[in-house]
């Protein structure tokens, strides 16, 4: 028992120390601060994946105009990919996670250069496009160019940026964001993170949180369609406790599957209907002796 108490005390002391360590690292700039080049590159990604679309106003309505940048999708995606994978050290909290947003941003620059070398770009790269992505906290346009804050990816047109991301899918090379002993990520993960995850984050409830990085028990979400830009665009009404949406069960006059009043007829020839009450599946005899492989069944 005493041993266990000492163990607990040591655990708490270690946790406290490492939390302080994490804070110190953060103060020393070795932490979640985002590199300006990464920031601009992720804005360029968000701007291509979920763009502002003034052209949809007339077709679909004004709520369909704003895109990912209007809700800081880029910033959250950087946080998400940097917090997404960890070294496995307890007590380090977010400091134990592997930041991969920076290498992703550089990889996209190299994909952009490949696109340009292949002359597969639809439009010429343009610095002004990248400058239009700068925010109020960013360095001046002159400094931006001088310091390499804008890479080739951010200068591409939206569609060419998507083409560059598609090139990343072809890369067989692997890159190691930290060092060889820890972890290697293959380039395929990049497309998944910057397209798939960005789309999932944007169209999910994410934007409605006060602060998603809060501990789960302290997160607040209004669950209100008007509080989430993407919900206004998809018509998703928010999460509900239930819907009185039951139409019934599938059945036929002879089937054990369902019975009772008919709601609708699905197939008149075979007498398949949606009926009021459920039945059960049949524990049928079966015979597989006539089984034929419809397609080549190579195995081994």
């Amino acid at each position: 028992m005493v041993t266990s108490r000492i163990g607990d005390w040591l655990a708490v002391a270690w946790q406290t120390l490492t939390s302080i360590g994490g804070l110190l690292l953060e103060f020393a700039g070795i932490g979640p601060d985002v590199d300006p080049h990464t920031r601009v590159t992720f804005r360029a990604i968000a701007d291509a994946v979920v763009p502002e679309t003034p052209g949809l106003a007339e077709e679909l309505g004004p709520e369909h105009v704003p895109g990912g940048l209007a809700v800081d999708l880029d910033e959250f995606t950087v946080t998400y990919v940097d917090d997404g994978f960890q070294l496995g050290l307890p007590h380090l909290g977010p400091q134990g996670n592997i930041p991969i947003a920076d290498p992703i941003a550089h990889l996209l620059d190299s994909a952009a250069l490949t696109l340009l070398e292949r002359e597969d770009n639809e439009r010429e790269p343009d610095l002004d496009r990248a400058l239009s992505l700068l925010g109020p906290d960013d360095p001046s346009p002159a400094a931006v160019e001088e310091d390499g804050i804008v890479g080739p990816f951010a200068k591409l047109s939206r569609r060419d940026r998507l083409r560059a991301i598609a090139i990343v899918d072809e890369f067989d090379v692997e890159f190691a964001p930290t060092d060889d002993d820890l972890l290697e990520l293959d380039a395929g993960l990049v497309g998944q993170l910057v397209i798939g995850f960005m789309e999932m984050i944007y169209y999910s409830e994410w934007q409605g949180y006060d602060e998603f990085t809060q501990p789960p028990s302290r997160r607040v979400h209004p669950n209100d369609r008007s509080a989430v830009q993407s919900w206004r665009q998809t018509g998703f009404p928010g999460f509900a406790n239930g819907y009185a949406a039951l139409r019934g069960y599938v059945g036929t006059a002879e089937s054990p599957l369902g019975d009772g009043d008919t709601w609708a007829t699905v197939d008149e020839t075979a007498d398949v209907r949606i009926v009021r009450e459920s039945g059960a599946f049949r524990e049928n005899e079966y015979d597989t002796s006539g089984y034929v492989e419809p397609f080549p069944a190579e195995s081994g």
Binding site: D83, L89, Q192, I201, F236
Partner: protein, 569 residues
């Protein structure tokens, strides 16, 4: 309180481990279940993602429906992030597994494992996949009594029909397919999903005028609120065991705890299998070593039998990292039901004519409640999702690049590939008028596909799983055939636009990496290590024909529990 020694240690409280644990405990054995992830809905861990909480749970009194209500918010992004395979601590990222291309493995950590976000689908294997494809050393008939037992424990019944299922059934019927009424399916056709979700209260019929708040005890059973992928705590207010979805934490964990013989220790990642080897003999498993994921401390526990139930990725990883005897099939033969997504979109007037409403409203009803079976080829199932998951599944990933780069002339779909930009926003503006069909193919075990480990690529639990998956030509043909059938069904149901993802290989269903007949014998005991059993989807000898694997995995885990008792106790 975790003891130093048990009759059996079960590694993993996922879909299958609790089934074997329950069987062993019913026979009077003392059982410790070690689970890498947290234990949701348990009073020992009121904040399972924020603080270490208690050590272990041995009593059904610990189970709390209120805590499940609080922890399973049904908010899709939060719940995916919470449940996907990783440590309980919310500040730490996922446990990394290397998967080829831009696919992924979707597994959960926690008591209940991947059944926490499965959609309750509980069909049996196609009989021919077991009796005719040449992979299985036992017969389909051997599994039937166990299927029946599992189906009763999980309340498996025909899924209810809402608008999206009616639309699918109409399309399937118009495409010329027949209704299937059977549990043992040998011919192609459509049917309601056999779901391990208690049927909805009849008050929720569209004609019944329900205007309550869908909470227990006003309503019992499913509340048709989607949300199974996000954990499904419905009906809100219900006690733990009255939750409608019969994930293994709800169906098998409570009866296992009620025996008084089972202790479940979450946040415990097993890193080694301890063996002894009498000179010249086969090694015998005598226990495991595990690591507490909160404190990092390492402990060992002894047992007469070790049961690996960590899933088809982690079980072979553990075998390989534990340096157990080499066997050329350990980790090999992975099947993932090489899948795809085919999405239909409708014009309002066409919908109104077909289903009497100008929206489908995929967010109403159960996530997956209608299916199409095709023994020898695989299956299709309708999928309702909230828009975030819908976006990533339907549009966010493709092996064909972006849709604007692809020509679809002569194809049964209007667009194929990844969608982003204006096209994405335009299609998703029709979220309430879209229906997604998940293509699930009967891919076959190939030795090149599977899990390996390599020194250097390691995390705190040793070398990480490195997964390879490359479908064969036959696997591709089966998937293409199913995608064409899906497009045809959507067209027959009146869809005005059909989009195919051409998804990269993604592991939603993961099996056959420790196959019966190759790595384990007919009782699922390892050929090369005595008293080491495997009771998870890795022992399935193939992908059970493309049918959802949970029922078969659980049936086999129940059978394995009985075999362990017969053989060693």
């Amino acid at each position: 309180m975790v003891e130093d020694s048990y009759d059996a240690v079960v590694v993993g409280a996922g879909g299958d481990g609790p089934v074997t644990a329950w069987k062993l405990a019913e026979a009077g054995l003392s059982v410790l279940v070690l689970e890498a992830g947290p234990f949701y809905g348990n009073e020992q861990w009121p904040r399972p993602n924020e603080e270490p909480g208690g050590e272990a749970s041995s009593s059904p009194e610990d189970l709390s429906g209120d805590l499940l209500d609080e922890q399973f918010t049904t908010r899709e992004f939060e719940m995916i992030t919470k449940l996907v395979f990783g440590p309980a601590d919310h500040e730490r990222g996922f446990w990394f597994r290397k998967f080829p291309g831009d696919g992924a493995i979707l597994q959960c950590a926690g008591v209940g494992g991947t059944t926490l976000h499965y959609t309750g689908c509980h069909p049996r294997a196609y009989p021919a996949s077991i009796d005719e494809q040449g992979h299985w050393p036992i017969e389909y008939a051997d599994l039937i009594p166990y299927y029946q037992e599992v189906e009763e424990m999980c309340d498996v019944t025909p899924a209810p029909v809402t608008a999206k299922e009616e639309l699918f059934f109409r399309g399937a019927a118009d495409a010329g397919w027949d209704l299937i009424e059977d549990l043992n399916v040998t011919e192609p056709g459509y049917r309601p999903q056999p779901n391990a979700i208690r049927q909805p209260d009849e008050k929720l019929h569209v004609d019944a005028g329900y205007d309550g708040d869908f909470t227990y005890p006003d309503v019992e059973g499913d509340t048709l609120a989607l949300g199974n992928i996000a954990g499904n705590p419905h009906p809100r207010g219900a006690p733990y065991e009255e939750k409608s979805k019969r994930a293994s934490n709800v169906s098998f964990v409570p009866p296992a705890l009620r025996t008084g013989n089972v202790t479940i220790r979450p946040n415990a990642f097993v890193t080694d299998v301890i063996t002894v080897t009498p000179r010249g003999d086969t090694p015998t498993a005598i226990g495991v070593e595990f690591r507490d994921t909160w404190s990092g401390s390492v402990e060992q526990v002894d047992s007469d039998v070790v049961v690996l139930a960590a899933g088809a990725i982690e079980t072979p990883r553990l075998w390989l990292n534990a340096d157990l005897p080499a066997n050329e099939w350990v980790g090999r033969g992975l099947t993932i039901h090489f899948g795809d997504n085919v999405m239909g979109l409708w014009d309002p007037d066409d919908l109104d004519e077909t289903i009497g409403s100008d929206t489908i409203d995929q967010h109403e009803g159960q996530d997956i409640a209608a299916r199409f079976d095709y023994p020898g080829v695989g299956m299709l199932q309708t999928v309702g999702t909230a828009p975030g998951i819908g976006a990533i599944l339907g549009f966010g990933a493709s092996a064909s690049g972006f849709a604007f780069q692809n020509d679809t002339a002569g194809e049964p779909w209007d667009t194929i590939g990844r969608l982003a930009g204006t096209e994405l926003k335009r299609l998703l503006s029709d979220y309430r008028r879209m229906l997604q069909i998940l293509v699930v193919s009967d891919d076959r075990p190939h030795q090149r596909n599977g899990v390996t480990v390599a020194p250097g690529a390691a995390d705190e639990h040793g070398p990480i799983p490195i997964v390879n998956y490359e479908p064969s030509e036959g696997d591709r043909q089966r998937r293409d055939e199913l995608a064409r059938i899906a497009a045809d069904i959507l067209r027959e149901a009146g869809a005005s636009h059909v989009h195919r993802s051409d998804s990269p290989p993604t592991a939603l269903h993961v099996h056959s990496t420790m196959r019966m007949g190759k790595v384990v014998d007919e009782a699922c005991e390892a050929y090369d290590v005595n008293r080491l059993f495997v009771a998870d989807h890795s022992v399935l000898a193939n992908g059970v024909g493309g049918a959802n694997p949970t029922n078969t995995g659980q049936a086999l885990a129940a059978r394995t529990g009985e075999k362990i008792v017969e053989r060693h106790f």
